[in-house]
């Protein structure tokens, strides 16, 4: 995946085969679409999202032709509603490709998180069409690595950075953040010569709530035992552009497809080989192209039933209130509640992990930390303590980057974790 362009990702083949000759069947427990259903291969909604980048390219190109501004975003704290209400197209620019990292390292230190390097590498190479089309990039003061990278990006791109207060529980923090969102609104109005009305904001809130709600319902399918799809498949149900109507309709048909429930004969009994260790993943996001660790985990007889990260449930757990007299504070509040590790103290993340563990009933927790992501790396101390002492589950932390050089070592550790989890479950 040299370039984030149409079709570059569509010839992706499964890179990580099963490691043991007798490995349990790694496919989805319920392979509908094969067998008696019409046609082999993935179900239609999944096939649709496998072409997600192509769809987004078409959408952005058409929008641009109609004069809609393209607004790049780099973090889940960005209030997409404000961009949508300005008539803009919010598109996530986070890089997930190892191929763009060497280009980034001409400017950035090697010892920096791969997500930051990959994102910037696309800029250096000019190989992310969305970044090339962007009329503005909106970002926040989250981690130091990103913050300083934005300065370099801002040298050649129109850039707007919101200040994110990081004392999550400070009484003044939300008020300050709300001011920042107001300032973003003013900047968008001024740059794009539009008026962002309260009505437009409320419409955008409803649209985003609908999108979040659908994705939440899809994620909720994983509470089933066994779940109707793999964690890797679930991760496909996303779009780097928010609020595309066709995407929302596909989420609905995916829900209909997978939500039918397994029939008794489909459902593997607990003693068949299809029974898998349920994993809750937490930590850093797995942005498009950087799904390697998830694939490795699921090649070891495990199924990732819950992802408490920015490409999983974290940003979609809460909605914004659609009917408040002033929509900006409602939007600001929703986004400010995101429990990212840049916050101190980040109690909300621990609360979220407790709730999600109770709901998704994992047998173990795997935390993924991108190399040099200091905030998640340090915060893992609290996560481990919570998982081991309070939830009473095995915990594994994987620190890695986008290069596949440690894949076999990661596999060995995950297999050992799966063995440990099985041994604990055995009577």
């Amino acid at each position: 995946m040299e370039d984030l362009n149409p079709s570059a990702h569509s010839d992706r083949s499964p890179v990580f085969p099963a490691t043991r000759p007798d490995a349990p069947d790694h496919s989805c427990p319920d392979e509908r679409g094969g067998g008696t259903d019409a046609g082999a291969g993935p179900p239609p909604p999944l096939r649709y999202f496998e072409q997600m980048i192509d769809h987004c390219c078409d959408y952005a190109e058409a929008a641009k032709a109609q004069g809609r501004p393209i607004v790049g975003i780099l973090c889940e704290y960005t209030p997409r509603e404000v961009i949508l209400a300005a008539g803009g197209v919010p598109v996530c620019l986070c890089g997930g490709s190892v191929a763009t990292i060497p280009a980034a390292e001409q400017y950035l230190p090697a010892n920096l998180c791969p997500l930051i390097k990959s994102t910037f590498g696309y800029h250096v190479k000019g190989s992310n069409p969305f970044l090339n089309w962007a009329d503005l990039v909106v970002a926040e003061t989250t981690c130091d690595g990103k913050k300083k990278m934005f300065e370099l990006l801002g040298a050649t791109m129109p850039m707007y950075v919101l200040e994110l207060p990081q004392k999550a529980e400070d009484p003044d923090a939300l008020a300050h953040w709300t001011d920042e969102v107001h300032k973003l609104k003013a900047r968008l109005e001024q740059q794009f010569q539009v008026r962002i009305t309260d009505d437009k904001l409320r419409q955008a809130i409803r649209l985003m709530n609908r999108e979040r709600g659908l994705r939440r319902q899809l994620a909720d399918l994983m509470t089933a035992d066994p779940p109707p799809l793999s964690g890797r498949q679930l991760l496909e149900f996303k779009s780097i552009i928010s609020g595309i109507d066709a995407d929302l309709r596909q989420y609905e048909s995916a829900l209909e497809f997978y939500g039918r429930g397994l029939t008794a004969s489909d459902r593997p009994t607990a003693d068949t080989k299809a029974a898998k260790v349920r994993v809750l993943m937490t930590g850093v996001p797995l942005v498009h192209g950087a799904e390697r660790v998830l694939e490795l985990i699921e090649s070891c007889g495990a199924v990732v039933v819950c992802m408490e990260n920015c490409t999983g449930l974290k940003p979609i757990l809460e909605d914004a209130a659609p009917d408040e007299p002033d929509p900006i504070p409602a939007i600001a509040r929703k986004y400010y509640h995101l429990p990212c590790s840049v916050m101190t103290v980040n109690r909300r993340r621990m609360d979220s992990l407790r709730t999600l563990a109770a709901r998704f009933r994992p047998h173990c927790v795997i935390e993924l930390v991108w190399q040099a992501c200091l905030t998640y790396d340090v915060e893992s101390f609290h996560v481990r303590a919570l998982v081991e002492n309070e939830l009473g589950l095995p915990y594994l932390k994987i620190t890695t980057d986008y290069s596949p050089s440690d894949s076999s070592r990661i596999t060995a550790r995950v297999e050992a974790l799966v063995e440990t989890a099985w041994a604990r479950r055995a009577p």
């Binding site: 490691t19 043991r20 000759p21 007798d22 349990p24 003693d271 068949t272 080989k273 029974a275 898998k276 007889g301 081991e388 095995p394 915990y395 620190t399 890695t400 050089s405 440690d406 076999s408 070592r409 990661i410 060995a412 550790r413 297999e415 050992a416 799966v418 063995e419 440990t420 099985w422 041994a423 604990r424 479950r425 055995a426």
Partner: protein
């Protein structure tokens, strides 16, 4: 029932035959790892069978473990080194609560619950510092063989400080020390201390005694002392340290339901 464990490590292959009814090791063998991993493992397996005078058909189950486990195609199943070393050490040293295993290319710390089940483990990731490979590089720099390197450290009065986290950089650091005239025993002792500190850092938390040391590097005299100094607690070398993985694999091969596969 006779079961076999095959530990296909990065530097050597170990095979062990185990009689589960009599809880007895029948025979064992070791050879250097090479390119044709599958063929080497098969040869060693045949040789071990011959020594024990056990026909192949009498072996009820074969479990492969170690870094090259998936290359051992004739094994019935594979189980990771973590689970196998834990089982093997638990068999030999039932009261062990912490296992330090240092092999050719990696090192691990395994915490056991009562009953020998794995509670937690940590493993080095990309880097070979803190592994047997590190010692090999140092031995070749000092122009001695591995056992001599282990003995050398006994004569050290002032272990050199080796701070590099990476084998390649550590080698450069050692070249620097040699140029400065640092005596070889001090370098040997310094390297052992560096490995011990790195392995203990892996554990990250309090290490519960009794601590058992296994893996090929446990044969290095001086390493046990370095580890117990860094941990400030006694460290015991497992009997048959090179074979605990293969032993665990053989024992697990005979257990039903098998570890590592869904019951």
């Amino acid at each position: 029932m006779i079961c076999a464990g095959i530990d296909a490590g990065s530097r050597s292959i170990k095979v062990l035959l185990f009689d589960t009814e009599r809880s007895q090791i029948l025979s064992s063998g070791i050879m250097d790892q090479g390119l044709a991993q599958q063929r080497l493992a098969a040869q060693l397996f045949e040789r071990t069978l011959r020594e024990a005078q056990v026909p192949r058909a009498q072996v009820a189950a074969v479990v492969a473990t170690g870094y090259g486990r998936s290359a051992v195609r004739f094994a019935d199943t594979t189980i990771t080194e973590i689970t196998c070393h834990a089982r093997g050490v638990h068999h030999l040293v039932p009261d062990a609560r912490t296992i330090i295993e240092i092999g050719g290319q990696d090192s691990k710390v395994i915490c056991l619950e009562d009953g020998g089940r794995v509670r937690d483990f940590a493993m080095n990731d990309r880097c070979a510092a803190g592994s047997g490979r590190f010692l090999e590089v140092v031995a070749s720099r000092l122009d001695v063989d591995l056992p001599t390197l282990g003995d050398l450290s006994r004569d050290s009065l002032n272990p050199a400080a080796i701070s590099s986290m990476c084998v390649v950089f550590a080698e450069t650091e050692i070249i620097g020390l040699l140029t400065e005239g640092t005596p070889a025993p001090d370098i040997a002792a310094g390297v052992q201390q560096a490995i011990a500190m790195r392995v203990v850092a892996l554990a990250g938390r309090a290490v519960a005694p009794p601590v058992c040391f296994t893996g090929g590097v446990a044969l290095q005299s001086g390493m046990v002392r370095a580890l117990s100094e860094v941990l400030s607690c006694p460290v015991r070398v497992a009997p048959l340290p090179q074979y605990t993985g293969a032993l665990g694999a053989a024992i697990l091969a005979g257990s039903r339901p098998r570890f590592g596969t869904p019951p």
